[in-house]
Symmetry: C2
Amino acid sequence: MIHLSTFRFLLALPLFFLLALSGCTTLRGVGDMGLIIERASGRIQIVETTGKTILSQIKGLGDLSHASAVYSRDGRYAFIFGRDGGLTKVDLLSGQLVKRVMQAGNSIGGAISQDGTLVAVSNYTPGGVRIFDSRSLEMIADIPAIGADGEPSKVVGLVDAPGQLFVFSLFDAGEIWIADLSQPNRPTIKKFTQIGEQPYDGLITPDGRHYIAGLFGEDGLALLDLWHLDAGVKKILKNYGKGEKKLPVYKMPHLEGWAMAGGMAFFPAVGRHEIMVVETKNWQEVTRIPVHSQPVFAMGRPDGRQVWVNFAFPDNDTLQVIDVPSLSLIKTLKPGKGVMHMEFTPRGEHIWVSVRDLDQVHVYHTDQFDKLATLPTEKPSGIFFSSRAHKIGL
Amino acid sequence: MIHLSTFRFLLALPLFFLLALSGCTTLRGVGDMGLIIERASGRIQIVETTGKTILSQIKGLGDLSHASAVYSRDGRYAFIFGRDGGLTKVDLLSGQLVKRVMQAGNSIGGAISQDGTLVAVSNYTPGGVRIFDSRSLEMIADIPAIGADGEPSKVVGLVDAPGQLFVFSLFDAGEIWIADLSQPNRPTIKKFTQIGEQPYDGLITPDGRHYIAGLFGEDGLALLDLWHLDAGVKKILKNYGKGEKKLPVYKMPHLEGWAMAGGMAFFPAVGRHEIMVVETKNWQEVTRIPVHSQPVFAMGRPDGRQVWVNFAFPDNDTLQVIDVPSLSLIKTLKPGKGVMHMEFTPRGEHIWVSVRDLDQVHVYHTDQFDKLATLPTEKPSGIFFSSRAHKIGL
């Protein structure tokens, strides 16, 4: 026999535990989810792009200036690379921080392997690349970046490529390395030396074929064709850079955002108020499109019909849209001060824009250019949607 | 006061209801999920590609011969188009059939709008396209396909395109139509007439720019550039088809699978033991690659470095792999009789292959070509992964 009040209490227990243990909010697909980095507060906002709403927040991610993120192959988990060397795994569905490791003193970015089992982080201090198990965040391999000169080097421009490869650049040594992680405990490294002065960032084309490093110490770009490694690294676009007169450069352009559209690549020119258009077949310049100010990101809409451009301080209140068929500007938007980053919805109907100084993220229609939503966020910077899980090099 | 046995019973109740009501299996990401059509039994298998396992089955989908599927933008729901005119919405997470409507007497395929709100189905009987709300499956618009000749026409080759467009072909009338669903209740139609004899299928390039219809009644293909509608429909590859001598054709090639890789398109030749290679810049033939038999699907690995080809009866026990850089065959596999369809994992490390007559789906590594898994399935045909949610035209 048992008293009714005790019964009521006992009745409530399993309800509570079941909810707590299962982390069982409502079932939902992760395909329309994403995250926004709040750089000042070490926090991320979990969002969804169907209703254009914020779902939850996750705190405690450390220094998130220049932070970036990659996704697990099921789209559920994000791995966030913080400037302070922190690697944080978060669960978008439960809105929980799963694990956080301080993997180095100062990091600059990361990547996830083609099969999703390995997360790689590139480091400034100490230089090198560290490889982690994507489930446990246990370190699997440590690749020090000692250049041909025998000195340790900062590592930048780390990307994944098909075949369990990671490709990255050694800033101080001027080298490009390919690490093959087919056998995770025994990485094999292929090194390309003397590729140019001070590679400061890198990108890989969406097909995972061409790796391009931007050079800080000289003009031009270093190009490696992963389908023809024997050909080695070639210098392309020798007039791409600061030029002989050394223009004032307010911010070196980001390379990740370079748009590939209609057989052309759209590069933010360094220091100039221009977007360079290059034919990807031969990497020759086609034309230059004058824009509002010094471009930072030039991002292609998923269908390649538009390229959206943001700008360096003090002109960072502006977004411009290039029409690819006509290679001309068709729209100028003024979202507000501090336009830091943009992310298209997977099929390109909308674009999400971080407007740092307004503490807002704006959502725009990419055909009609009307503002569809404003989301309150604290000093937002990078925006990363879960569809990146299925992309090479993102 | 309450008796202890009654208490135990009552204690179990909320547990049961909570689980039942929430549909709360374990939380999981849908990004690595997919489905396999079992054509003979009106059933689909829900699978996941990380562990390469079957998760659940959903029955009662009617006649699934030639069935295809598209995904909601969150990747959670699939819409399956059956040959019997049935449109079925299933929930991959709960493994449940959500809703099924008999929308026509005989249908041939469907598409989902760029923003995910609309599902379109193309019909043989009666001809035309019907548009449904993707949440409720209520019909929103009915577009009869009456050609310029005043007669109703079968509709084939239905795809989505950016800007809430659906593009499709009228088999009997020889027309290509573009339906603009920006205002869902008031579709506007743009018609291109006399595009060729009996378009039997269509595809759209992955950027959503070029729509191509295959012609059953004559040689050549009909090409429409959606970026330049004023230019109208052009006839390309006039030697593509059955030829003047009318080769025996065991199966017209599927157009959906045409691979685009490295600036080239790889077309299964009609009736010939060849893959045609075409430069997509000008749609001129580059070369032809001899293959095992009459090709049905030629599908490009997501990085564009390989094209996988299957074949018509009686040679449908074979798969061949073309290396794109060298334009040559590098591998022949013999999975078994009835290789019906292939689907790559989103980043291309594996390929899933339906082997109908073995009642199996095989998973192969795309670099080493070893078989990684065998999944028992009943007469499997189409395989559709949830990453299609983020693709234009799939």
